[in-house]
Subunit: 306 residues, 4 copies
């Protein structure tokens, strides 16, 4: 068996070839037997929803948390402009890509560490904790230094090497679902992080690959709802990537909140038409402000705050 410290408890997880009943360790408060392909991320042993703290922001509690910012950090000015705008509109977290996993090697690959530094600065100036995507397990230290929450993108959703490393880093993780992965596999990926003692994982539905082509990806709201019944971890929805077009982002964001999303991840750019990536789907600051007002009204009738 393996001992994991999670949520302030000593948890013993049994391997398929061992028996948790045999555990004699006095420090063990909870013992979990492996019945499913995920254990620690499942809600059989932990009924209460997990609240993930990023700075002062609580994800998974009453509040619908909104993280917003540019697809890619392009410059100090662009990032600061967006940071102030999303802060003013009511966002709780600042997002921005520094290392960009682009399908084509000929697309803009991000500013790297410099991008993280810019994001950190904009976050500090506005008081917003920052979240950014990691691609390489060897970048662990630089993310440890600059980021408040580390994002795993759809393409690395089953990059178990990276997941284990983030389990050891200990920072809150925003784990996106892979394009071709089931909700169950998403939860199994979270298990890789939690096995290393990091229970601060937020799962993110961001659309899957289907035959439908009027949207970029198919936002699987049903999968998110079904997933919430399987895990104690909070769920984020990303309405920007499945939309692919900014006219669709508001409706997908509202639908996600109505379905029970604990968090939204929204791309906002001061001038989307000149953005170096995802130009079509980023909201203007004005549109984001309107979205926040709509989310706020919606959250209130659902008994939640923003």
């Amino acid at each position: 068996y393996r001992m994991v410290n999670l949520y302030g408890k000593h948890v013993a997880v049994a391997w398929p070839d061992s028996e948790v009943e045999g555990v004699k360790d006095e420090a063990v408060e909870i013992m979990v037997k492996t019945k499913k392909s995920y254990v620690l991320a499942g809600n059989e042993w932990k009924r209460d929803p997990t609240v993930v703290k990023v700075g002062d922001v609580e994800i998974g509690g009453n509040k619908v948390v909104v993280a917003a910012g540019p697809c890619a950090v392009e410059s100090e000015e662009q990032t600061e402009t967006v940071a102030k705008a999303v802060k003013r509109a009511g966002a709780s977290l600042l997002r921005g890509g520094a290392y960009k996993p682009r399908t084509s090697p000929y697309s803009f690959q991000g500013l790297g560490e410099e991008g993280l530094r810019i994001l950190r600065k904009a976050g500090d100036e506005t008081g917003l904790p920052v979240v950014s995507e990691i691609l390489d397990p060897r970048d662990r230290e630089v993310f440890g230094k600059y980021a408040d929450m580390v994002q795993v993108g759809a393409r690395n959703s089953q990059n178990f090497t990276l997941l284990r490393e983030l389990g050891r880093l200990g920072k809150p993780v925003l784990l996106k679902r892979g394009l071709g992965n089931t909700v169950e596999e998403l939860i199994q990926s979270a298990e890789y992080i939690m096995m290393e003692g990091n229970g601060n994982v937020v799962l993110c539905e961001r659309g899957i690959r289907t035959f439908e082509k009027s949207t970029r990806f198919t936002l699987d709201i049903g999968g998110m709802v079904a997933g919430k019944l399987m895990t104690h971890l909070p769920f984020c929805a990303d309405p920007s990537h499945p939309a692919g077009k900014r006219e669709l982002v508001h409706s997908l964001a509202l639908a996600s909140v109505a379905a029970g999303a604990d968090m939204l991840l929204v791309e906002v750019h001061p001038r989307p038409e000149v953005a170096l990536s995802d130009s079509e789907q980023q909201l203007t600051p004005e549109s984001f402000q309107l979205l926040m007002e709509r989310v706020r009204a919606l959250a209130s009738v659902l008994g939640r705050s923003t």
Copy 2:
């Protein structure tokens, strides 16, 4: 070209091999050229949203219309019990299957015309217009006699023979999207109905086939939102079939309304556990009442009524 009377207008639609400019008919008020694979269902020539009237109920206007009732009409008692319950809870239409398209020929196939008669009676007693699914173009008369709105199921979404017949019947049509059809194809199917002069079509998103297995189908809310930008026809969402499990129905219904659905189609059974079909996904009357309260609260912040 072809002359179609739609929404009180004389519309001339040009074939690919003809020219609408050449139309000299004085009665023609609107001329539409074929540029896309759908024309009459598109919103290039008709900007205002279409309101489909079923009895006194208006679908596509301010109100979020809810149609509810059993998957299948099983008996007079069952149907009346449900009809009264959904009426009391605030539903505007009564749904119920009389001819059931079951994947297996060994499953319950519905009561046929007797089922329609029972549905009609329950509708009359409660003052709810009724909607039921047609499978055979030769049943046109019997549906003309009993139904207020005729439903085309997912399996017949591209049964063009049936669609044309419903175009001629003239009754309002609830047209479901096929399991493997794009939103564009759904709109093209509506075109087949409209070509015969029947503009009273409500499109229905009911989930598509994907690899995800935690839900029965994947409700494509993004497809519905994208579809609303392509057509003037109203959109209905069916949260029951994609859910497959009753615990998921509320969330999918709320998400659909938040995303802009004009109508909901919900399965309700007095005792779901003994239902002859779709036992897992039908709501109890109590659960449906709660759903209506939640939909009402949600609609109000969206500036809509129920």
Copy 3:
């Protein structure tokens, strides 16, 4: 229970609510209990592969049967030209669409009964039995008159009204898989035909809807192979529709034969570039001749003839 005459036997099939053990009918030779969602089409009660005869042509035996011809019958000349060419190249059946189920109502819809007449004439002149697609159950008589084998297209794969009618018509049926249907559902659709006493059904894999866009549909060869283990009915593969481009047709045809297809359905047009439908994917007569040579060589090493 229901009595069905199939393959010269009296078969009693039990309903879920009845018991086949209780059958006392002396005429019953075989009794089948309903355990799965399909029975007559399954191979639990009938181990030997079924051979479907269309004229003198046997589908499901040693020979790899090739049906070829135009997507749509356009004229007497076009059809005769193709019929002679495919006959010369070694095809055993002539295919051609008279009633075309086009996604858009503005596309060419086929010549109707006149198309069937032309096809019949070309078949008679070349000695090739003919196969054509039916869309409307009310066209039963006209197909009874002109066609040797009746095709059900992908869009009507779950049009149970049509399937039942073809069960009663009794002619051999080529049943295509729906774009969003599983192999199991295809077999269940065959069950609807067989329940009416018609066991002459050939199942056809023609590609399913997936996210991949370099081909028109995804030919599911694995599904066909898995299906062959579930049923005694023969399998046809249609390489033309999934290809969408003629450069891909040969490879998909050869792959299908290597995987065990009993029949191929190939679109051939004397001048594909001016075809009224599916222009991109129809083979020229020359290319078809080459394909037949390649199929012949392949079949020989598999121990089959053509």
Copy 4:
């Protein structure tokens, strides 16, 4: 622009924001402009098919190359037994997993470096070059030491960090398609490797995620055929993973070869029923021997050897 040495040539690849026409470098023999999302992997600049050499084995030439071996290296004895068996049957390469990317962290994760050492030894004893999957870019050296060809699995198909590292390592790469990736994206992933100067990439079709459940994944043979028209790189097909059941493996393997696969990757285990992973889909040595005979016969009529 970027200078890349590929296939013994100096190639200059232009960035979207630069111009290859401006290149004045005398060493440049070939200049490629970025028109598509992939360049070096495309066949516009390099018409002749690329032959990838692994030891003495040539992939992409006349021979259909077969790599076979266990899903996971479990012990020295198991690996040697399989190695001798597949060698005897005619395989050209030995495959075996040392680092296993298992969806669940509670499944067997492989023997790690010890597994690679065992594989190397078995390869040396039988004279078969070895191929094994890498998960972590930091394992570059250990793979450099033990492996002749490095495999990138489906889950890491868009792990660009890992791909770049393998581009620098320089060893031949077997690059699998991700479960939710298009063929175009697979080719774009190869571009990441080639950009670092490593042109020895074999693309591998191994099945995609679809709604069909009678097979584990849907082997996209059409995608492979379409892909071969887009790239000069050779294609491998993996019939074992999409099959999921050993009864289907032969047919999928033969179909792949008939469709033009240059290589097959087949799982073979001395006693599949006790295998620590993928127990259902591994062939016995006897079944593999029969498969090789069938592949050999098939290849001969296609004008290829094995």
